[in-house]
């Protein structure tokens, strides 16, 4: 598999994973919206509605604030680019993704952080109060979520002696007792809370709110129109799908392609889509029954996630 053959295979795998995430992200959002509507007792938009919105957005006119610099335009592109890179190198459909050996969990988290920082900077460039408010709150929540995230990674990496993501998934596949261990559940619990915080879902932020003063993520993108807005929505949904994909593969890696080969890849993709859809449904159901937390109750939520991760880390230390 080395040499040219290896490179082509790697490009194919990367392409498959990127396509899966690029199309799967909006579909996942559509599914979650559909589930909310069904529980609310209405039919709701079709699952592929987000794709329709994206197609329409890309054909609309692009608008920029008159005094904004080039950072405003670059923000959404960096957001999507980071999501594309992570989709290419992280173990979604296969445990041997291209550049897999460099897909360190720590590196992936910081590449995603680059995306959110780019968006926050672009929001500040608009020169409107909403941009400033959104980026200030997003960075505050990001800062408070970091400890929970990194200590969760630490907790998961201790028993596996590595923080390399494909290796973590491979070890999870090979030794199921590692997955059933308490530190994996505690770490993934705090990882889930961080995912909800980072992707702006309830209870941290209400994506479908119209009241600017309560927005966190939405306030940053009020200024985007047409293709920029399309990129932002695409980027956000890809990040959500990615993070859920990683969460699912760390929790239940069964079905992921362990060896090379097209058949295994297809099975892997199928398993990925299935698991992520189940996770999406669970989150959507949870969202229907919960309300948005006040901004200054969030530190308690994120501190709780941090404590979960620390307890996970200590159990990993003690149990080993």
């Amino acid at each position: 598999m080395n040499g040219i053959g290896g490179v082509i295979a790697a490009v194919l795998v990367a392409g498959a994973q990127i396509a899966a995430v690029a199309v799967g992200g909006p579909l996942l959002v559509g599914v979650m919206r559909k589930v909310r509507c069904h529980i609310e007792g209405r039919v709701g938009p079709p699952i592929h509605q987000p794709l329709r919105d994206l197609r329409k957005l890309f054909s609309k006119q692009c608008m920029r604030p008159d005094q904004a610099s080039w950072v405003f335009g670059v923000g959404p592109v960096v957001l999507v680019a980071t999501a594309v890179l992570i989709a290419a190198i992280s173990p979604l459909a296969t445990t041997h993704p291209p550049l897999g050996q460099t897909a360190d969990f720590f590196a992936i988290v910081f590449v995603l952080l680059l995306g959110s920082v780019a968006l926050a900077l672009a929001a500040l460039d608009t020169g409107t109060p909403f941009g400033g408010m959104g980026s200030s709150r997003a960075m505050t929540i990001g800062a408070l979520a970091e400890p929970a995230l990194l200590v969760a990674i630490l907790a998961m990496s201790i028993p596996a002696h590595t923080s390399n993501l494909p290796a973590l998934v491979r070890i999870g596949l090979a030794h199921p007792q590692l997955i059933a261990s308490p530190e994996r559940f505690l770490a993934l619990g705090s990882f889930l809370v961080v995912i909800l915080a980072e992707s702006g879902r309830l209870p941290v932020d209400n994506p479908s709110t119209h009241l600017e003063l309560t927005m966190i993520h939405e306030a940053m993108v009020l200024e985007y129109a047409g293709p920029d807005l399309g990129l932002v929505i695409l980027g956000e949904s890809m990040r959500l799908a990615l993070l859920l994909g990683l969460l699912v593969n760390l929790l239940a890696p069964w079905g992921i392609a362990d060896r090379a080969g097209a058949a295994a890849l297809v099975i892997g993709l199928g398993a990925l889509v299935g698991k992520v859809v189940v996770a999406g449904i669970v989150i959507a159901t949870f969202e229907v029954f919960t309300a948005k937390l006040r901004l200054f109750r969030l530190p308690e939520l994120l501190a709780g996630a941090f404590v979960l991760a620390v307890v996970g880390a200590f159990t990993a230390l003690v149990v080993r």
């Binding site: 400033g132 990001g142 290796a167």
Partner: protein, 673 residues
């Protein structure tokens, strides 16, 4: 040949100083810069040969210093710091060429800066206690002169210089005690002799020496309880000087701790390194928190220096801890990560301070609340600050990320360990690393966003225009270093490994097999920064291409339209409606309220006629430094009170003085009886 380089450095530096104060105003700065570059290049050549060959360079001559003679030993560990200082010095002096017309061309300044640079180049090369202390004092005094450069214009410069002078010399005296105590026991004041005798020193001496060195060098590095001078002195110093102080001088504090802790005393009990780690954690969190909530640009940078030095101290502490619990390989990686963090910090902090100086020159103020829209008006300085800000926030394509990744790996791989101290220290260290990263990211999004993006909030920012080319070039040089170190850290790592082998006892020579990737020897930790950067660039280009394709494919070709930003249909959208640095940091300030303890005062003035109608409401909030407020102010108060009481003794009556003499005489005689 390489011993010669040290001599050339000294001579060039001296001649730069002489040129600085002798020549007339016009050519003074240029001559001083030329000679300083000569000194830096000589030092670079010397230290690079040492790093390449691996063995130290010794030079001693008893003629220069009267009593003790000068011994210079440049070993790989010192060489790393000399290289860093030289690069930052070259960039800062290049910046100084353009900056000179803004008040840094007086005789004292253009003599003090070269001396400051030369002394910092030679401190890591000092081989004996006397030489080290002599150069350390020279560095402290010349930097004090630089802080005092524009004290005539601003009063707080004088008080900052006072704080700086007092705290530097408290630290210097602690270092003096430690080194003198060690050399007394060793009977000979060269570091080599001290290292030999260090083994059979009594534990009490070793502990006190280490603690004194930690206090002395910790205050220089800005560790928290002793950091109070940093946010006062750095903003007041002229920009090239504050870039040198933050980029090079604080590193020497770290060099000192490693020198005394590892090189001279050859490691110590675990509690030493636990204290270093604890100080590192507290400094990191405290610095990051204050950086996130301060609105003065240079004060923000000064606090983030304390925060980065805290991270380095965590690395140093972790390396010592792992060395004591018997993991030399991981101890070596932790030390390499600490050194890499120091090198990275010098690069991005230097460029940040220089571009902050350019912003101050262009807009006339350092207050973030009055800036905005500078990226359009000062494109290159803005871009440099952007690169520096993203680097310090440890974001992937740049060098801050590689340092933090290495530190995280060393903490992680030290974990399955028997000793409970390590088991507790590592998760706490990781949590501190993470929260500091988050807070620094928030601080620098604020600095970049409020400072450079959006609309100008004051007249100064609106009329700002780009600074002269040499100033841009100086800052850009260091920003370029950030990018290069981020994408290809492998060029620096072999040198850092050789320095670690010199510092950490028992460290394997090659702890990182570094090719395109950073592969940790014997461990499962790999990172390929080059591939990551290439991937990002590729993805970036792909997304732009797809976006343009999608737009072209759509049936209506609509041109980009620039319009007034959407403000809920508000009639007048002014720059005052934007978020300022204070409001940006307000959520963080509220979350960490009890640590920051902001003092808020609200006074409502009512109309004369009736109390029901308020005439004016004034709200003012400011964040003081908690440590300064609760630790230093009471101490100063106590000293003043005691001084006041003592004044009473001297009330001018001759009799009282004679009586004192008599009483003392009588007491002594009584004692003899």
């Amino acid at each position: 040949m390489s011993n010669l380089s040290l001599v050339i450095t000294a001579i060039a530096g001296l001649s730069a100083a002489i040129a600085g104060c002798a020549l007339p105003a016009k050519t003074r700065v240029h001559a001083a810069v030329a000679f300083t570059w000569g000194a830096c290049i000589a030092a670079l050549v010397g230290s690079l040969t040492v790093l390449h060959t691996g063995h130290a360079m010794v030079l001693n001559s008893s003629r220069i210093l009267p009593l003790t003679g000068v011994t210079m030993v440049l070993d790989p560990l010192g060489a790393v710091f000399v290289v860093v200082t030289a690069v930052v010095a070259i960039a800062s002096t290049l910046y100084w060429l353009g900056y000179a017309s803004h008040g840094l061309s007086t005789r004292t300044a253009s003599a003090a800066l070269p001396i400051f640079v030369t002394s910092m180049l030679l401190v890591p090369a000092a081989g004996s206690v006397a030489t080290f202390l002599w150069l350390w004092e020279l560095m402290a005094l010349s930097s004090l002169l630089l802080v005092l450069v524009d004290q005539r214009r601003r009063e707080e410069t004088r008080s900052a210089a006072q704080w700086y002078a007092v705290m530097t010399h408290v630290g210097a005296s602690a270092i003096l005690f430690a080194l003198v105590m060690l050399s007394a026991h060793a009977g000979n004041q060269t570091f080599a002799a001290i290292r030999i005798h260090a083994v059979h020193l009594p534990a009490a001496v070793r502990n006190t020496a280490f603690l004194l060195a930690l206090v002395g060098f910790g205050s220089k590095a800005g560790a928290v309880p002793l950091h109070v001078w940093l946010p006062k002195a750095h903003p007041e110093a002229p920009s090239p000087a504050s870039a040198l102080m933050s980029g090079a001088m604080v590193n020497l504090g770290i060099y000192g701790i490693v020198l005394v802790g590892d090189r001279l005393l050859g490691g110590g009990p675990a509690w030493w390194w636990l204290t270093v780690t604890a100080v590192g954690v507290v400094s990191a969190l405290f610095g990051a928190l204050h950086a996130a909530t301060s609105t003065d640009l240079k004060r923000l940078l000064a606090y983030s220096t304390a925060d980065n030095m805290g991270l380095v101290l965590i690395g140093v502490g972790a390396s010592g801890l792992f060395a004591t619990t018997g993991h030399p390989a991981i101890a070596a990686i932790a030390m390499v990560s600490a050194l890499l963090l120091t090198v990275n910090h010098a690069a991005f902090k230097g460029s940040l301070f220089l571009s902050a100086g350019s912003v101050q020159v262009a807009t006339g103020s350092r207050d973030l609340d009055g800036m905005g829209g500078l990226l359009r008006r000062m494109p290159i300085t803005g871009a440099v600050f952007l690169v520096g800000g993203l680097a310090i926030a440890a974001l992937p394509p740049l060098n801050g990320f590689v340092g933090e990744w290495l530190l995280f790996q060393s903490l992680l791989h030290g974990l399955p360990t028997s000793s409970t101290a390590v088991a507790i220290a590592v998760p706490v260290g990781v949590a501190a690393l993470a929260l500091t990263g988050g807070l620094t990211a928030a601080a620098f999004v604020k600095a970049i966003g409020v400072g450079f993006l959006g609309r100008p909030r004051s007249e100064g920012a609106a009329t700002a225009h780009e600074v002269p080319r040499t100033m841009q070039l100086g800052a850009a040089l260091l920003a370029g270093a950030c990018v290069v170190l981020g994408v290809v850290p492998m060029i620096v790592l072999p040198a850092l490994e050789r320095a670690t082998a010199a510092a950490v006892p028992g460290a394997p020579a090659h702890s990182l097999r570094s090719s395109v990737e950073l592969r940790l020897a014997g461990l499962q930790g790999v990172l390929a920064p080059a591939l990551l950067a290439a991937g990002l660039a590729l993805a970036f280009i792909a997304v732009i291409a797809i976006r343009r394709l999608a737009q072209r494919r759509s049936h209506l070709r609509l041109a980009l339209r620039r319009a007034e930003p959407w403000g809920c249909g508000r009639e007048l959208q002014t720059a005052r409606m934007q978020y300022t640095a204070t409001s940006f940091a307000e959520p963080l300030q509220q979350v960490f309220d009890d640590v920051l303890r902001p003092d808020r005062d609200l006074n409502v003035s009512h109309l004369a006629e009736s109390r029901y109608y308020t005439e004016k409401i004034a709200y003012r909030t400011s964040i003081g430094d908690v440590v300064e407020h609760n630790v230093y102010r009471p101490m100063i108060g106590a000293v003043n009170a005691w001084g006041q009481w003592a004044r009473g003794l001297q009330n001018g009556s001759v009799h009282r003085y004679l009586a004192y003499g008599l009483v003392v005489l009588v007491v002594i005689l009584a004692v003899i009886v």
